[in-house]
């Protein structure tokens, strides 16, 4: 009996240690900072495009009347501050304010505050524009939320630059557990997205008979690049279809092991860029890749960014390297990162 109790205790201690390591080990905020730049730019672009037809969508007698949207949102807790503004000048005032917030988020100015405001603004457009939304908007608000959770302005930002300027020189990198927390949340959210995207497709015959990708490429309204020549290559269409659904369904498992992670990330690029270039959804394809960036370790980000190693302080190359299993650092000096000794 004692053996069972010991085993149970040990198991529980291992779980707690693993949990703490996974969520609370400090990490270099470089990955989060890069996601902030990319997601911020996408938020800015997305809302600049809303601005092209702002009152046409949301104004009096706009495409999306309050009564129509309310009919779908009845009983829901969806919210939007845009409901308070219908006149043209009022809509434009809050719209310009939102654009400024997204621009500030992109460059990382007063990031802690604007990250929260950016999420509130993005949510408001999603809450108001029911009927004109698609995957881009879902990922936009998801990333905006997690950028507000972590210190997304601690790397590659004006905030950081100003801080170093005030200090009179480069500052050391500041790995933080909150940066890790935000990255982990993005990672797990991406897994849920792909899991359900893959599982939902399993009910469609075209994903089994291998014609689904053709049905996407052969759709004139989506098409941005003529891929009809692929009708001559049915087995290639089958292969693309099968790879897509296997990749999506197993992403949740294969993105974690060090062995398969680079393969999964490498496959994400042609998959999402294919959607971007061939199906006219450049924004959606790119924002999915931004979400995938959460699995790129900070030291890789710093290595890829010109000046990333030196421009952000002497210790910017810090980002403890590959012993990072999940994109986070593994400093054994932290309480959270310490494995129990047995």
């Amino acid at each position: 009996m004692n053996r069972e109790v010991d085993y149970g205790r040990q198991w529980f201690a291992d779980v707690v240690a693993g949990w703490n390591r996974f969520w609370f080990e400090p990490t270099d905020p470089a990955t989060l900072g890069m996601i902030r730049i990319c997601a911020g730019a996408m938020l800015l672009y997305t809302h600049l495009v809303w601005g092209l037809d702002l009152t046409t969508f949301f104004g009096a007698h706009g495409w999306l009347s309050p009564s129509a949207v309310s009919s779908v949102q009845e009983g829901s807790f969806t919210w939007s501050y845009l409901w308070w503004f219908e006149s043209s000048w009022a809509l434009w005032t809050v719209h310009v304010a939102a654009l400024v917030v997204f621009a500030m988020l992109t460059v990382g100015l007063f990031t802690r505050v604007v990250a929260v405001l950016a999420w509130l603004a993005a949510m408001s457009y999603v809450g108001r524009a029911t009927g004109a939304l698609f995957g881009l908007d879902q990922i936009n608000v998801m990333l905006a939320m997690y950028l507000a959770v972590g210190p997304s302005g601690d790397a590659f930002s004006v905030d950081r630059w100003l801080k170093e300027r005030r200090a009179g020189g480069p500052l050391p990198v500041r790995p933080s557990w909150t940066a890790n927390l935000a990255i982990r949340l993005i990672q797990l959210h991406m897994c849920v997205i792909y899991l359900f995207a893959g599982m939902a497709k399993l009910t469609g015959m075209a994903w089994w008979d291998g014609t689904a990708m053709w049905m996407a490429f052969g759709n004139l309204e989506y098409q941005s690049l003529d891929m009809t020549w692929m009708a001559d290559w049915p087995r290639l269409m089958n292969l693309l279809t099968h790879v897509t659904i296997f990749w999506e369904t197993f992403y949740v498992a294969l993105i974690w092991p060090r062995l398969t992670r680079p393969v999964m990330l490498a496959l994400a690029v042609p998959l999402h860029m294919g959607i971007a270039v061939c199906l006219g959804m450049m924004t959606f394809g790119l924002i999915m890749l931004v979400g995938n960036m959460a699995f790129v370790p900070p030291w890789v980000i710093r290595a890829m960014v010109p000046g990333g190693k030196s421009g952000q302080g002497r210790g910017a190359s810090a980002g403890p390297r590959p012993n990072s299993n999940l994109g986070a650092t593994r400093s054994r000096s932290t309480v959270a990162g310490t494995r129990p000794k047995h």
Binding site: W23, H61, V72, S76, P172, P175, A200, L220, G315, V335
Partner: protein, 190 residues
């Protein structure tokens, strides 16, 4: 790595860790439950959980199915309209329309509007929602053009099969389009 180059944030205390862990578990449950309970295919269990989690799921934007191109890519849907003016003249149009909506993201917003109207007309869906959106589109069209009435049609554009394209069929072949009337709407006086 020189120690003076890294200034690690202090690890959270046990109490903070416990609180954050609890919030993380609740949040991730909601992240999972959003698509898990998304209609039309959702179990009773998923539906029951959704009732509890709904305020949070809706409130932070997690009510998404993530069913991209699922269950499978199908025909696309456009909205065709016929405007009639006070002098009896008529004008036709449709959306999405690449010639009128640029850049591509704006075109996609219009594309989603016509697709959304189609999705609202699905089996078992309350008819009032589709009617409300059709009226909203019609209201915008009559007010923005000054038309006295508008007739709406949902245009379904089927995708040809690979053998048909190999045999020379174009994606824009007229045989691939079907129009279904949505309704006729008079200009609202307001």
């Amino acid at each position: 790595m020189p120690a003076d180059n890294v200034e690690t944030q202090a690890a959270p205390r046990a109490g903070v860790r416990a609180l954050v862990s609890l919030l993380v578990v609740l949040h991730l449950t909601a992240v999972f439950w959003g698509p898990f309970a998304m209609p039309p295919q959702a179990s009773e269990l998923a539906g029951s959980g959704a009732v509890v989690l709904r305020p949070y799921v809706d409130g932070v934007g997690l009510a998404n199915g993530y069913r991209f191109f699922a269950p499978e890519p199908g025909p696309s849907h456009l909205l065709r309209y016929e405007l009639t003016f006070d002098d009896g003249s008529t004008r036709e149009g449709f959306f999405p329309n690449r010639d009128e909506q640029q850049p591509r993201l704006l075109y996609h917003r219009y594309f989603m509007m016509s697709e959304f109207l189609n999705s609202l007309g699905g089996q078992g869906a309350p008819r009032e929602r589709a009617d409300a959106y059709a009226k909203s589109y019609a209201d915008h069209l009559t007010h923005s053009t000054g038309a006295k009435s508008v007739k709406l049609f949902l245009r379904r554009h089927y995708v040809p099969r690979m053998p048909e394209v190999r045999a020379g069929m174009q994606l824009s072949d007229k045989a691939l389009f079907r129009d279904e009337p949505v309704g006729t709407f008079e200009r609202d006086a307001s």
